[in-house]
Subunit: 336 residues, 2 copies
DNA sequence: GACACTAGTTGGAACGTTCCAAGAAGGGAA
DNA sequence: TTCCCTTCTTGGAACGTTCCAACTAGTGTC
């Protein structure tokens, strides 16, 4: 292992020029003679020189990094969003510092503090569980873009979300169009996204004159939560022929519960999810769902964040992307 | 947004002390009087002071960060490994910089360079596709721990892996114990892990006197690759009653292909995977597999890396964790 | 032969910390 | 009173960059 990490001074000495010229040359300035440039590049290569990002960020007064706080790596939809985030960040020469906060808001705050100490130029929050006050406070220091939610506003906060109520209505209307009327809903628990999806369900049921058939079971966005909720549903509302489930992960749990109860999906029981997680569209699962353009949402978020970083006072933006029905194998007309 | 970010000097001025004392106080030194400490803490809080990690890392000559290069966020097993990594890193006061390299080795190298510029104190490579020379070169600058592979060695390189050959043998022996003899193998393509798993398959078949029944189809560790390979298998070797598939993700593709071909899993055709990815143990999928202790592997990797960071010349370590058979729903005795 | 211009190059200051050697203030011992 | 010892506090140097104003050497113009 190298005893002493070479610095710009070492390169300068080796190339026989000043440190300033090395700095210039390595950043591709055109005011360096071809001869000097060559000597510098050779010296740098021979020494294995690597610029020190900390020193650069200090001298530059900018870090060229954005921070990303993700709720949880284990829900695969976040991987898809991150793909979009990394793509656009990379294209623009930004590093991405990714941190998972636990669901615990206290730990999330300390993760956030670490990102801010790194002097990130902006923050992307993916499915966070932070309070509105925290975000407002943070956004006072740094621009913030929130993905998958739009319930927090602030001068320095932009949001990228889909219209959860509209998406939920589409799901329910599709089930109705197949002939279902006993349609249950399994929620994602106590959070804004879940509330919106539930509202869409209720609205669609009302609009179709099916308010008497509204049946809601509380879930929690996990597969095991979906499994438990589905069993509850089969016990409490056996007339149900279909369920709109708050997200794909818990829809998989619902499918498992149906199978365990001897119900064939979709001939005995139809299931529709929400999100568009890549794994659920595997043929083995083939889940019908409301598909959000997840990668695109990641891209949009970075684009918006970078726009606000370069021009701080642009008006607030709240982008709503379109989610669409993804037809697959878990919905069918009800038995007669 | 604050016009000027407060620095340690601002805090010092506000608290009426020197910047040095602020530095001492905020790092919890015991040689600061209670009175000064209080004044400093109040001033820092009022100003919303945040230490600048870049400046600290420069002055300190250490970054308190480790870099993690992940092949791909979309295979959920990496999320599990990362959970272990983040846990132990966090406990030890280290930040984790996570980067996804694409499968493209050139892009992977540039991602790596970015991590090194951040002055990470060590690197964790998860399922990398880098050449042995690259890793040896890198490990000359920084300690490296490799997860899920052990085919690269070097003075400064440790590895955490499972014994892929042994795991594969367990899988095949299990199928044999159920009564199967026409057991095919679908590989993960041209890489070390895949080669080891194939060797385990061949060895187990030989040991059981089934060398005449060895049948290998090339896959690529993805679900669609598994699907394609399985269809190839059904066409070329219809006698097969079971398949050992190189990883869980492609095993899901195999299951889909079986279903599409009218084969019920497991009564008509048994499938066993490898990895232990959390989603595959969902009841809906309920995949029988060889389970690696993924979270634990992440933990071990960080522990080992930190050990080498603090004591550079300790002997090389190559930890092999035990993988075990996870019994589930996709294997059964063959039809008579 | 003086002058202006251009291309290339330079040293020093600055960025926000930590570390270090050294100073100030107060108390106790002689 | 003097001296030493603690306890607390301090300013300056250093970390590795970037930026800036200024310098040198050559080239062309009149």
């Amino acid at each position: 292992m190298a005893v002493h990490k070479p610095t710009i001074h070492d390169v300068a000495a080796k190339a026989g020029v000043s440190k300033s010229l090395v700095s210039l040359a390595l950043r591709g300035s055109d005011k360096v003679s071809a001869e000097s440039r060559l000597a510098i590049e050779n010296a740098a290569a021979e020494l294995g020189y690597r610029p020190n990002a900390a020193a650069r960020s200090l001298a530059d007064r900018r870090s060229r990094a954005i921070g990303v706080l993700v709720l949880d790596f284990n829900n695969p939809i976040f991987a898809q969003i991150l793909d979009g985030v990394q793509e656009v960040a990379g294209e623009n020469g930004y590093n991405t510092l990714i941190v998972t906060g636990s669901a615990d808001p206290v730990r999330q705050e300390s993760e956030l503090a670490r990102l801010l100490e790194f002097q990130v130029e902006g923050l992307i929050l993916i499915a966070h569980r932070l309070s509105a006050e925290t975000i407002t406070r943070i956004s006072d220091e740094r621009p913030v873009t929130i993905i998958t939610r739009n319930d927090v506003t602030g001068a320095n906060v932009d949001t990228i979300s889909n219209d959860d109520q509209a998406g939920a209505r589409i799901a329910v209307e599709y089930l109705i169009s197949l002939g279902h009327s006993h349609i249950a809903h399994i929620t994602g628990g106590d959070n804004q996204i879940s509330r919106d999806r539930e509202k869409g369900y209720r609205d669609a049921m009302h609009a179709a004159g099916l308010h008497d058939h509204i049946h809601v079971i509380v879930g929690d966005f996990t597969d095991s939560g979906g499994y438990r909720a589905a069993n509850e549903l089969f016990a409490s509302y056996p007339e149900a022929t279909a369920a709109f489930v708050a997200n794909d992960l818990s829809a998989l749990g619902v499918m498992a519960a149906a199978t365990d109860s001897g119900l064939n999906v979709p001939t005995d029981f139809s299931v529709i999810g929400y999100d568009g997680m890549a794994l659920a569209s595997l043929r083995t699962l083939n889940l019908t769902t409301i598909q959000q353009p997840l990668v695109e949402m990641g891209r949009l978020a970075v684009a918006q964040l970078l726009a606000r970083i370069s021009t701080p006072n642009i008006p607030n933006v709240s982008v709503q992307v379109d989610s669409k029905l993804h037809l697959a194998g878990t919905c069918a007309p009800p038995r007669k």
